[in-house]
């Protein structure tokens, strides 16, 4: 084979520079029966990177339950798909853009949002909702304000321009993320079942077409960067950050959806991580075909680009599609109408090889399989972290209350992790498309589906402190919390996606956390009957050997059959009964109380009863359906007192009077945390609810009544709703400066 452009000679050392180990390099040579050239090696490097190949995580991910009556596509495609009836299906996935966002917060976050939306509309779905789960370092860390401001502006900048409402998400601060922030973006799309498109090549002789933006030298080796641990050299890798162009992506969205109306397209896949390489190889792989690619026809933004750069460029806002032969002109007209590039760049071939030519010469000739399923599969060693026992043994009983209940509530309600996120979500357009029935701020957001009575509830959840203390249990609780959150607006969980953010998998402690967390998600999903339909893994979230808290973010979509029965979180009318479903007392282990008041992480966390969670969900949905329930709000971080305060703030403005005496320590009653708890309100229906709860084995307790202008817990504290509001709304000010 000849090579037109002079490329560096390939050696094991060159391979190592690209992140390919000596062992992997040997395997590559064996697979193809020769030493790859530089471009080919680059393709292997990205395809075999952790980011694209899941080489450390794959064996564990296989244990997820991924099927169900509604599942149309599980993991393995660009995103998962579940049917919601009426001939409609929901497409969703979550993805990380952690490292790029740390280097350039605005563009990193923006292109993360752009990338996940392409994953959704490449399947034929119109994106209808975005969520984002964000983790930053300590509030007072010198970079936090800059990173937070940039990331939030970037997410808004991209999503707002696309006209996709950003309706929910999470925001947390913890020093563990000082050197590695997490930006996990999720998109939910809607597609008619008979209009689903897959990233698959088929039909020998069909043209391969390139549409969207031109290719530049953006983010070359971005995928391998996202898989490598941060070090001092990160600075030098800087040019790998891409700039997003949401305007072009908006055109691409409309053009693709228009093109998909006809019968022009056989298969389509976005060019994300590893660009042209990944899209070509994956489409050939799924379709069990070969692909011939002519680089001379690829629309370029810069002169003098070599095959290596073209194959690895991560320029945004591009798609690769296989067209029905003879439909090239029809497609060209559609993409030109939207002022986008459109070029035939190759064709589907018989056999199993990806062949790439440049200036008339073959520059790549590789079998598809080794690039995909040939990627190494590691069962990395695992070991329980040595300090876990010590964390569990933290003596919670010896810790003092640190102030009056009122003082502590004020402290917690205004603390960085519990205060209002209004500053964030007012920067996101959360109304566009006019479907947002419940916007950000509550337990789950709700978007209705025009033309039906249905609505979707969406949420993302994880409490990394719980995962750190008990990865299996903590991850299971993330699923349980997500399911509970959608139940609080009256929805039944359909399926989840996940984004598993962990440290360096080559460390046995990290791999142990990972494996345990995957097991926990799987257990909870099985118990709740909620399959995993898509997801993403981000490993090596580590800087100079300091890892993040294990953060398996769970994104969940639920279905509401009749939008008339959507629940709300806040207190409604004076005189309504305030009721607690679930145990009264929580635990201080791993709690926000422990974090805020004592700066500690430790203790043994209480276990979730998944059967009871399931029953609780049924109870809530039934209560909203039959009108018994007037509101429901999940009791999570901050415990009962914080949840009650939130009920006051999210509702009509009414306070409440509460009477419930502590059994042991006051802090556990007020600020203790535990799964399976929801504050609900009801008027005349309270009796009926009590009976239903008893039947399901769910603890039921009368806490008090809605009314007045303060939250008054008899004998413990009394704070005006106005004070609570000030404290809650002002919490982020110290971090954002606004």
């Amino acid at each position: 084979m000849t090579n037109a452009t002079r490329e560096p000679e390939v050696t094991a050392a060159v391979a190592r520079e690209m992140g390919v180990t000596e062992d992997e390099f040997r395997r590559i040579c064996e697979f193809i029966g020769r030493t790859p050239n530089y471009t080919e090696l680059g393709m292997f490097a990205v395809m075999w990177s952790e980011h694209c190949s899941y080489k450390s995580s794959r064996i564990h991910l296989k244990t997820f339950p991924t099927t169900g009556a509604r599942v149309l596509k599980g993991p393995g495609e660009n995103a998962g798909i579940v049917s919601i009836g009426d001939g409609l299906a929901v497409v969703f996935k979550m993805e990380s853009h952690n490292h790029p966002s740390f280097i350039e917060p605005y563009q990193g976050a923006a292109t993360g949002v752009g990338g996940i939306m392409r994953d959704i509309f490449t399947m034929g779905a119109r994106p209808i909702a975005n969520l984002n789960s964000l983790s930053f370092g300590a509030p007072d860390h010198p970079k936090t304000r800059y990173l937070l401001g940039g990331v939030v502006a970037g997410i808004g900048g991209y999503g707002n321009c696309m006209g996709v409402p950003t309706v929910g998400g999470e925001l947390r601060f913890n020093p563990a993320y000082n050197g590695n922030i997490l930006v996990n973006a999720m998109t939910v799309g809607l597609v008619p079942e008979e209009k689903i498109f897959l990233g698959q090549a088929s039909g020998v002789g069909n043209p391969v077409m390139y549409v969207g933006s031109r290719t530049g030298r953006d983010g070359i080796h971005g995928a391998t960067m996202a898989s490598g641990e941060f070090d001092q050299q990160t600075e030098e890798k800087r040019p790998t950050v891409q700039v997003g162009d949401p305007f072009t992506e908006k055109l691409l969205l409309e053009a693709c959806l228009e093109a998909m109306k006809g019968d022009h397209i056989v298969g389509i896949q976005d060019m994300g991580a590893a660009g042209l390489t990944c899209s070509t190889v994956e489409m050939a792989d799924r379709g069990e075909t070969g692909i011939l690619l002519d680089l001379d026809r690829v629309p370029l933004r810069e002169e003098g680009m070599v095959p290596y750069e073209m194959m690895l460029s991560e320029s945004q806002e591009r798609m690769l599609l296989v067209a029905q032969k003879g439909h090239e002109e029809a497609l060209r007209q559609i993409f030109e109408k939207w002022d986008l590039q459109c070029a035939v760049v190759g064709e589907v071939t018989a056999g199993d090889r990806v062949v790439v030519t440049h200036q008339g010469q073959v520059v790549v000739d590789l079998p598809v399989n080794p690039l995909t399923s040939g990627a190494p599969l590691y069962d990395r060693p695992r070991a329980e972290p040595a300090n876990l026992r010590e964390l569990h043994d933290l003596d919670l009983a010896s810790l003092d209350a640190g102030g009056s209940p009122a003082d502590t509530l004020v402290k917690l309600l205004g603390s960085p992790n519990l205060c209002s996120r209004r500053w964030v979500w007012t920067q996101y357009d959360h109304h566009v498309q006019t479907n947002t029935v419940r916007g950000p701020g509550g337990d789950a957001a709700v978007v209705r589906i025009k033309g039906t009575r249905k609505a979707l509830a969406v949420t993302s959840d994880v409490n990394p402190r719980l995962v750190a203390l008990d990865p299996e249990e903590g991850a299971a609780q993330a699923v349980a919390e997500a399911a509970r959150n959608v139940a609080c607006v009256g929805a039944a969980p359909l399926a989840i996606t996940d984004c598993l953010n962990f440290g360096n998998p080559e460390k046995p402690e990290i791999m142990w956390q990972f494996e345990r967390a995957v097991a926990g998600i799987g257990r909870a999903c099985r118990a709740l009957g909620v399959p995993v339909i898509s997801g993403n893994v981000s490993l090596y979230d580590e800087t100079e050997a300091k890892g993040i808290l294990p953060t398996p973010t769970v994104g969940l979509v639920g279905l509401i059959d009749d939008v008339a029965h959507v629940g709300r979180a806040g207190f409604q009318d004076e005189g309504d009964h305030v009721l607690l479903l679930g145990e009264a007392t929580g635990s201080l282990a791993g709690s926000e109380w422990l974090h805020v008041l004592h700066g500690k992480l430790g203790g043994r966390i209480p276990k979730v009863d998944l059967e009871r969670e399931k029953a609780l969900g049924e109870l809530l949905r039934q209560g909203f359906r039959d009108g018994t329930l007037k509101s429901a709000h999940d009791v999570s971080e901050g415990g009962l007192a914080v949840a009650l305060a939130e009920c006051c703030l999210l509702g009509s403005g009414s306070g409440a009077s509460i009477k419930l005496d502590p059994i042991d320590r006051v802090d556990s009653l007020l600020f203790g945390e535990a799964p399976g708890r929801v504050i609900v309100t009801a008027a005349a229906g309270a009796k009926k609810l009590e009976k239903a709860a008893a039947k399901l084995g769910i603890p039921f307790r009368k806490l008090g009544k809605v009314g007045g202008d303060s939250l008054d817990w008899k004998g413990l504290f009394r704070l005006s709703v106005a004070t609570l509001r000030d404290v809650h709304e002002g919490g982020l000010r110290a971090i954002t400066g606004a």
């Binding site: 321009c161 006209g163 305007f247 007012t426 920067q427 959360h430 006019t434």
Partner: protein, 228 residues
């Protein structure tokens, strides 16, 4: 009665306006492609919100050169009712159909939240405000980066003198306050009309609050007002 909703590259409230026109006002609606010159017999033109041309350079600056805009301008000059919402308002000022300019929000951030508007003119002052009597306070969402209304002092005086200020940002009680003005607009201006009063531009989104299910239908008044 037919609404024509213009679709620029980057428009993203085109479907919302179409939906509001057909559902809230019960009227016929159609899309008008920016490269076309045919208004398809529309009786009312809507320039919807969004990010035409990515809002690059200046919001609304490039959209005004679209072929369809020549027809919209001619339609407006003939006295046809035109409403520009958010990005549509920006396009109207850039194209000279409305005076002044819309600049970066005072806090330099995209802002999406509900605001209160006070109707400043008698009902029927414009075709879109037939159902909104003077002094009435409406609640509407905003979602924009560049909504700070600016005009030279002499122009502001003229707008005020001629009764061209249609909506002002106020608080829930209908008073003009610093906090009630979300973007720093001069004279708290949220919406204006031209001298002939057939063209209206406003930053808040009536299209997003035209339905009880979404918790607010104040915006429906504007769509219904223009339908006889």
């Amino acid at each position: 009665m037919k609404f024509g909703v213009v679709v620029f590259p980057g428009s993203n409230c085109d479907h919302d306006c179409y939906y509001a026109a057909s559902h809230a006002a019960g009227a016929e609606a159609c899309f008008l492609w920016h490269k076309d010159r045919d208004l398809k017999g529309s009786d009312v033109i809507i320039l919807p919100g969004g990010f035409s041309y990515g809002d690059y350079l200046r919001s609304g600056a490039m959209a005004r050169f679209s072929p369809i805009m020549e027809e919209v301008i001619a339609f407006a000059n003939r006295g046809g009712p035109v409403i520009g919402i958010c990005n549509g308002f920006q396009i109207l000022t850039e194209s000279g159909l409305l005076p002044g300019a819309l600049m970066r929000n005072k806090h330099l951030k995209f802002l999406c939240r509900d605001v209160f508007l006070r109707a400043e003119q008698d009902a029927g002052r414009t075709p879109f405000t037939r159902n909104v009597e003077k002094g009435r306070v409406l609640r509407m969402p905003i979602a924009h980066n560049d909504g700070c209304y600016f005009a030279e002092p002499h122009l502001l005086d003229r707008l005020e003198g001629e009764g061209q200020v249609i909506f002002r940002y106020v608080n829930a009680a209908g008073e003009i306050t610093e906090i009630g003005n979300p973007n720093g607009s001069l004279h708290a201006i949220a919406g204006i009309t031209n001298e002939k009063r057939n063209v209206v531009g406003l930053m808040p989104h009536p299209d997003r609050c035209a339905e009880e299910l979404l918790g607010n239908h104040d915006g429906a008044l504007l769509f219904q007002g223009v339908v006889p």
